[in-house]
Amino acid sequence: MLEFESSLRPLEHQLEEVRRRQAGNGSSADEEQLRSRLEDGLRDIYSQLTPWQKAQVARHRERPYTLDYLQWAFSDFVELHGDRSFADDRSIVGGPAMLEGRPVMVVGQQKGRDTKENLTRNFGMPHPEGYRKAERLMKAAERLGLPVVTFVDTPGAHAGLEDEERGQSEAIASSISTMLDLRVPTVCVIIGEGGSGGALAIAVADRILMLEHSTFTVASPEAAAAILWRDAAYAPDAAASMRITAQELRQLGLIDCIVPEPLGGAHQDHAAAARAVAEAVLSALVELESMREDERLDRRYDKYRRISFIEE
């Protein structure tokens, strides 16, 4: 339970208590009433989340990650490994999978749910070899005629000395370039944190969808606060002023569509979240596939070209 949900804690305890007492005897009127009060409370809270609170939901440990969507919304996923030149980066997963009976190439950042898994997944912060794997899979998809579906969920690309040695900048820039030029339809879903260039590397699709409580930022609120005010503690202020939420970005016209989450956030119901994502991705794909290839590529160019916001 997140801090801003704590007002619901007594209700939740009561509900647990009632459920325990009537164990196995079906649900009572008491339980129904408590549950509906809890839902009302959640609906209240989640309908007016601040940007900083959204950032917390986007980072929720129980939030569905790329592999969860692969499990719930896709079938026959075959994970492919490695960048063919240095290593396999486990913070990016990918491979072909079926979405409602059609083959697609899926690439996404992958966080870990516990410390051990997070060490393997590097907290969802890819190294250059992760982006090179992503690029390799996207190029294969293009050659084989598979649409590309990416899942973005990273605080940012990893920033260590080894990343500079292996060319983090080049890996990200090259991935952006490759993805922008893919001749197949591309759909990106920002499922949690869309952090900076590390997110953008696999986000530059024909359509950018965002989950209702996800974020897409030029830098994490902490990093931005450190840059602007030399103190990461002002992250909530940075979050509020940088327009990082799906709703604000939709309003600015920077993303295409918001995918609604189950009540109380995607972490409450992975299956329902995945159903909504699958539906949104499918409808984007259907629309994109109805266009001629060169028309789709021109529109993709214009989509990014027209982001100007200047005065002359």
Binding site: S169, E170, A173, L200, S241, R243, I244, I307
Partner: protein
């Protein structure tokens, strides 16, 4: 903002404010004192440690292009402060005016046409004094227009980059300029034209991780810090002090990220040679150039 821009001094007379009228300057790297006048004559390269100080855009233009050939385009384009960013005493609109006053430039990127060794090209350069050379919407738009102009006119493209990366106060709009510039660059390159990318100290984040590292030839000034992340960020990530040479130009050369490290004074002749070598052979470009010239009655 528009008011401020109108009051700016005209091209050429500007930037006087940023030149110290002190007799001496101290090198930030080796702390050596040197005569301001000699320092400027040596293109702001430290006489002792050869540190290449940041140049203003105007100084860079003078130090790189054939004298008097630069024609600036879109000089007045400025930020619309799209997020109305104002928080904790950081009022972006005020900052923009302050940067404009300090640098005499309307934004952190300047572009136009010019010549090196008598050869025409499109030239872009960052203004480091304007918001640390950071990339926001105007930077992205001007760079994209520079790339599109070069593609249309079949000219080679040279960009000198020095800056801190994407600009925080324009949020995700800044981030997406990375996509916009790379998309334009891909089309430029597909047309068979060369992009020569010059990186000067410091070149970071959003610029390095988008267009700047994608040169057909990546060129760096000696000792320039060029990286995805800044020193401080890496030290926090690694929880240890970085070696002095880490992510400097020579380190990148060693690790295969750049092609050439070149002293400031040698840059024009290097660019001239590269343009002659790379921008004249593509038969498709030559054919189209012929058509364009015929059309123009040349």
């Amino acid at each position: 903002m528009k008011e401020i821009l109108k009051r700016l001094p005209r091209e050429g007379a500007q930037r006087a404010a940023s030149v110290p009228d002190n007799l001496w300057v101290r090198c930030p790297r080796c702390k050596e004192l040197q005569y301001t006048k000699e320092h400027e004559q040596s293109l702001k390269v430290c006489s002792k440690c050869k540190y290449h100080w940041p140049l203003t855009a105007r100084e860079r233009i003078d130090a790189t292009l054939d004298a008097g050939t630069f024609r600036e385009i879109d000089a007045g384009m400025h930020s619309s402060d799209p997020l109305h960013f104002s928080s904790r005493g950081e009022v972006y609109g005020d900052k923009l005016e302050q940067y404009a006053r300090q640098t005499g430039a309307a934004e952190s990127f300047i572009y136009g046409t010019g010549a090196v060794d008598g050869q025409s090209l499109v030239f872009g350069v960052t203004e480091f004094g304007f918001a640390g050379g950071s990339m926001g919407a105007v930077f992205g738009e001007k760079l994209t227009r520079a790339i599109e102009l070069a593609r249309r006119e079949l000219l080679p493209l040279v960009v000198v980059s020095s800056g801190g990366g994407a600009r925080m106060q324009e949020g995700t709009i800044s981030l997406l300029q990375m996509a916009k510039t790379v998309a334009a660059l891909d089309r430029f390159k597909a047309a068979g034209l060369p992009f020569l990318s010059v990186m000067a100290d410091p070149c970071l984040g959003g610029m390095t991780a988008s267009y700047a590292i994608l040169g057909d030839v990546n060129i760096a000034e000696p000792g320039a810090y060029i990286g995805f992340a800044g020193r401080r960020v890496i030290e926090q990530t690694m929880r240890q002090k970085l070696p002095q040479n880490a992510a400097r130009a020579e380190f990148l050369l060693e690790h295969g990220m750049i092609d050439i490290v070149v002293a400031r004074a040698e840059l024009p002749s290097l660019l001239g040679r590269l343009v002659r070598l790379l921008a004249t052979s593509n038969p498709a470009v030559a054919r189209r150039r012929g058509r364009v010239e015929q059309h123009a009655g040349v």
